[in-house]
Subunit: 115 residues, 2 copies
DNA sequence: TCATATACTGAAAATTTATTCGGTATACCG
DNA sequence: CGGTATACCGAATAAATTTTCAGTATATGA
């Protein structure tokens, strides 16, 4: 895993929390896993703009941070499933409030950022 | 301002909200401005790890997105102050929940990320 | 046999973000 | 006069993140 040259002060609780979810797809992955565990290929179907590679990299970090759990089934063709942990689930209220904020204020940004 | 070559789908409310606060210092800036308006030099004292340049760049984006307001006093030496807007203030509950989550779970990450 | 699908990985390239450095301008103070 | 401080900006560089591409291995089905 990449080791930062310029460290971030994670003793700041805001930065600690942000650091766990602020990459491009982590918050979306947690949101997708809220109801059901998913295989990597299913996750890619749910988030088609994310390449399988980046999903793989970010899932690995989420697992490493204890927010997501991975189950490997020793079958062929290979099968694995990712599910949200209790720790990851405890972040969902934060994501919920972000989703609600985004829905409430969407129109303010519609023109500025074409959507 | 830099224009992305690979656009992000901001019609997703989660990604819209994230896009407004997920750069390195924006959430910290909003947190600093919650009680009082600040001059750039004061903000730099409050966040000494952030260079004046990056504060300047991120303040400009925050102003552009309507989360922060800028007041210029036509004095010399120049003086300007940044304050949080009502829109920016409406994000503070989200930051509060991130701060609370980080405080609650800090010990889980203490060893992994030296702090 | 050959294409397909699965999960995953390494490495290089591209993209995005942050840092560093030097410069604008003006007033105050010693 | 020369140093300090203010806010700000352009450009080059560096750092960090994401994308692209090619590859591992094995079973299934046409």
């Amino acid at each position: 895993m990449y080791e930062r040259k310029i460290p971030v002060d994670l003793s700041c609780p805001l930065r600690l929390t942000m650091s766990l979810i602020d990459s491009k797809w982590k918050s979306c992955i947690l949101d997708e896993l809220r109801d059901t565990s998913m295989r990597p290929s299913e996750l890619h179907k749910a988030l088609p703009e994310a390449t399988p590679r980046v999903l793989d990299l970010q899932l690995k970090e989420l697992v490493d941070d204890g927010l997501v759990a991975k189950t490997i089934y020793p079958e062929l063709p290979p099968r694995s499933e990712y599910s949200i942990t209790e720790l990851g689930r405890s972040l969902l209220p934060i994501l919920d409030s972000m989703i609600a904020w985004g829905e409430t204020n969407r129109e303010l940004f519609e023109k500025k950022y074409g959507m």
